[in-house]
Amino acid sequence: MENAFTINQLNLKYGEKKALDQITMDIPKNQITALIGPSGCGKSTLLRTLNRMNDLIDNVRIDGDIRYEEQDIFAKEYDVINLRTKVGMVFQKPNPFPMSIFDNIAYGPRCQGIKDRKVLQEIVERSLINAALYDEVKDRLKESAKELSGGQQQRLCIARAIAMEPDVILMDEPTSALDPIATAKIEDLILELKKKYTIVIVTHNMQQAARISDNTAFLLMGELIEYDKTDIIFSNPKETKTEEYITGRFG
C-alpha cells in the first residue's frame, strides 16, 4: 500500500512544552486515518504539522521528518504554499468566508491566479457536486455563505478544500459543532470522498472514528500509543491505555 505521508521520529515543542514526542507512523493513501486521544494530547498539532500550518505559530520547534510523496516537507526549499494546495484542511467550526457561496469556493483557485470566469464556474460546480452540496445551493450561489445551515457550511468548507484539487484532506473535528443529522451527512460525504482523497481526521467522537476510519492512531500526551486498523483498535487494542481510553475509563 502506498503512503501519502511518512512520519519519522517527529518531535514538536511549543516553547518548552513538548506537544509531540517521537511520532513515527505512515498515513496510507486513499484511506481514512483517524487521530483520537484525550484533549490536549496533540491530535490537532500532529494534523497541523502535516500541512505545516504550525508554521504560523511562534515558538514552535520541530525535529524529525515528515515525507509527503517522498519529499521532506521541512526541507528549506520545500514550497509550503504548494504543500497546502495539495493538502487541504477542514476545521472544527464551519468557517465560510464572509462572501458568496461562489466566491468561497473560487477563493483558493483565484489565489492561485485563475481568473477565467468559466473555469471558475466549472471548478465551483464540480466541487459542490463532489461535496454533495450542489443540489441544495445551486440556485443561490450568489448569496452569502453565512446563510447556510451549519452542516451546509461545513460541506461548503469541504467543497472549498476540494476546489484546490488536493490529494489529502485534513479534518480537525469537522462535525463537533454539528447536530447528529448534519453529522451523518458529513460522515457519508467523508466516506464518499475517501475514494478520491487521502483523509486524516481528528475526532473526539470515538464512534465516529470507528465508523468512518480505516486506521486509527491513539495519542496520549504527545506520544503515539497505538496505531492500527480501526477494527482492531476498537475491538481488540493491544495497549491497556488505548483500551481504557476507548472504553471511557481513562483517567
Partner: protein
C-alpha cells in the same frame, strides 16, 4: 474527475513577491504611526524644557523645583508654580468621574437591560450623538446652564460662587462630557455579558435586580473600567470647555468645590494665543506635565483594572 492542472508557476512567483512586499510594506505605516508620539514628545519637551535652561532664558530661567512645588501659578517675572494645578486637576477629574461613573453605569444598565428595544435604541442614539458633540458645546452649555444651577446650589449652602464659575461647575461639565463615553462603553460591556450567565442567576432564584448588580455588573466591570479610563483620559485632556467654567484660580490647591479652580489644560489655553517668550514656552512645560499626569494616571488605572478584572 480531476480539474485541469493549474498553470500557476508564474502566478506563484508573483504571489511570493507580493507577500514579501507586504511584510516590509506594512512596517512603514506602523513605524510612521508610532513615530508621531516621538515627534510630539520631542517637540514639546524641547520647548517645555527651555524655560528651565539658563542657556535659553538666562536670568529669567524658571526654577524647576519651585515650578514643581509651587502653589501660585505666576509671580512676575519668572516664578511659575504648577503643583497646585496638578492637584486641582486630579481633584476635579476625580470628582467628575465620581459623579459620572454611577450615573453612566446606571444609565447603561437602564439602556442595555431595562427598557424595551425601541426605547433603548433611541436613548442609545442620543448618547452616541452626545459623545460626538464637540467639547466646546459643552463649554457653552456649562456657561449657559450649569453655572446658573451651581450658583443656586451654592446659595442653598450659604456659599458664594463667582456666578457659578467654580470647581463644581467644572466637575459637572466634565462629568456631563465624559458621561456619553463611559455610558457607551458600559453599554457595550454590559451587552457583551453572556446572557447565559444572567439566565443562570435568574434560574438560581435571584431577582432581576440582584442579577444585574451581582452578575451583570461584576462581569462587565472590566469593560466598564476601560470606559472609565477613557473618560478620565478625556477629562484630563479637555481644554476649551474647562477653561470656560473653571475660573482659573491663581493659587491653590483649593478643595472647596464652590471656589474657582485651575486645571493644567485651562492654564495652557489661557491667553496662549497672545503670549510670547517665556510665558509662551512655559505652557509647553505644562503640556509635558499634563502628558506625564495622563500617562501615570493611565498606568495606575490600568493596573487597577487588571486587579479588578481578576476573576473575569
Amino acid at each position: 474527475m480531476k480539474f485541469p492542472i493549474f498553470k500557476i508557476w508564474d502566478v506563484k512567483k508573483k504571489n511570493r513577491f507580493f507577500d514579501k512586499l507586504t511584510y516590509t510594506g506594512l512596517l512603514i505605516p506602523t513605524i510612521l504611526s508610532a513615530s508621531f508620539v516621538v515627534l510630539i514628545i520631542l517637540f514639546i519637551t524641547e520647548r517645555g524644557v527651555a524655560p528651565f535652561l539658563p542657556s535659553q532664558y538666562g536670568d529669567l530661567s524658571v526654577n524647576f523645583l519651585r515650578f514643581m512645588t509651587g502653589t501660585t501659578w505666576y509671580i512676575s517675572p519668572n516664578i511659575y508654580g504648577i503643583f497646585f494645578i496638578v492637584i486641582n486637576t486630579l481633584y476635579v477629574v476625580f470628582l467628575s468621574a465620581l459623579l459620572a461613573v454611577p450615573v453612566s453605569v446606571f444609565t447603561a444598565l437602564f439602556i442595555a437591560k431595562m427598557t424595551p428595544k425601541p426605547i433603548s435604541g433611541f436613548f442609545q442614539t442620543v448618547v452616541e450623538l452626545l459623545a460626538a458633540i464637540p467639547s466646546i458645546v459643552f463649554g457653552v452649555f456649562g456657561l449657559g446652564v450649569i453655572t446658573d444651577v451651581v450658583k443656586k446650589i451654592a446659595t442653598v449652602f450659604g456659599m458664594q460662587t463667582a456666578g457659578g464659575i467654580s470647581a463644581l461647575s467644572t466637575v459637572l461639565v466634565l462629568a456631563i462630557m465624559i458621561m456619553p463615553t463611559v455610558t457607551l462603553l458600559s453599554i457595550t460591556a454590559i451587552k457583551a455579558v453572556n446572557r447565559d450567565m444572567e439566565n443562570n442567576s435568574l434560574a438560581l432564584g435571584a431577582t432581576k435586580i440582584q442579577t444585574l448588580f451581582k452578575v451583570t455588573l461584576v462581569s462587565a466591570k472590566s469593560g466598564i473600567f476601560a470606559g472609565i479610563i477613557l473618560g478620565i483620559g478625556r477629562a484630563l485632556g479637555e481644554a476649551t470647555a474647562v477653561s470656560m467654567v473653571a475660573g482659573n484660580a491663581g493659587t491653590g490647591p483649593d478643595f472647596n468645590i464652590f471656589n474657582t479652580t485651575r486645571t493644567l489644560t485651562s492654564t495652557m489655553l489661557l491667553g496662549l494665543k497672545e503670549t510670547t517668550g517665556l510665558d509662551y514656552d512655559i505652557r509647553f512645560s505644562v503640556g509635558v506635565v499634563l502628558i506625564i499626569v495622563i500617562i501615570v494616571t493611565n498606568l495606575l488605572l490600568n493596573a487597577a483594572k487588571k486587579r479588578i478584572g481578576k476573576f473575569s
